[in-house]
């Protein structure tokens, strides 16, 4: 669960580096983006001469990660379905509950 946005804290980067390694090792990785975390999948992120967080998310998706963002959080922040990366979805608390029920390890990154 990632609660912070891109380029504001290191949380997204920590998640990326861990997720990449877990996927390579054959684990399933599921990310629930909550609060400002939903901004990490905005497909229009532009970052000249810097790491591009949307591309990092797309790389995780390509490698098999499942990424869903809290729909209510998105609505509160004016983020629409059309704004987010292909392959990601908006979802409710059911998504988080399903992840909690299914996963062996749960990490939360916030403040």
């Amino acid at each position: 669960m990632l609660r912070t946005g891109p380029y504001t804290s290191q949380n997204m980067d920590t998640c990326y580096h861990l997720a990449r390694r877990f996927l390579i090792k054959g684990h399933e990785v599921k990310m629930f983006l909550y609060e400002d975390g939903v901004f990490n999948v905005k497909k229009e992120i532009k970052s000249p001469q810097e790491r591009n967080i949307a591309e990092m998310m797309a790389e995780l998706l390509d490698a098999g990660a499942e990424i869903k963002a809290c729909g209510t959080c998105a609505r509160f922040r004016g983020v629409k379905k059309a704004d987010i990366l292909e392959g990601t979805k908006l979802g409710g608390m059911t998504v988080l509950v399903n992840y909690l029920n299914a996963c062996d390890r749960f990490l939360s990154f916030g403040f």
């Binding site: 609660r3 608390m93 509950v97 909690l100 749960f106 939360s108």
Partner: protein, 119 residues
């Protein structure tokens, strides 16, 4: 059917300055409503959530004291970390009805949890 997963939600942030305590509430209610064995613990600055007499209407925000007061009605357990209360000079009698919990009890509770979420 499997036992429901036990999830501890540590609310560490004071109310209003950050959205954390309010967002934590949404998660506590959601998880409880969907059958998880949900235990919310107010710890560090999060103990301020339990202080009676909050009046955030001038801020245009919901009163978290009232929200958290309802948790037990929804089936979630709500605890307050007494060392965090003491450090901040807050008396239990000035708080909404919460179960007091010390370091040992919190440590033991964590040791029986499936997952921990921090707000």
């Amino acid at each position: 059917m499997n036992e429901p997963k036990k999830v501890i939600i540590l609310v560490r942030a004071a109310p209003y300055g950050m959205a954390s305590a309010a967002e934590g509430f949404r998660v506590i209610i959601g998880l409880t409503g969907m059958g998880l064995d949900t235990h919310a613990v107010l710890v560090d600055d999060g103990v301020l959530v339990s202080l009676k007499g909050q009046a955030p209407s001038d801020l245009g925000m919901h009163k978290l004291e009232d929200a958290y007061s309802q948790l037990q009605d929804f089936g979630a357990r709500l605890y307050v970390h007494t060392p965090s209360l003491e450090e901040r000079g807050i008396l239990e009698e000035d708080c909404i009805g919460v179960e007091p919990i010390d370091d040992d009890e919190l440590g033991n509770m964590i040791s029986t949890a499936d997952h921990i979420i921090t707000f």
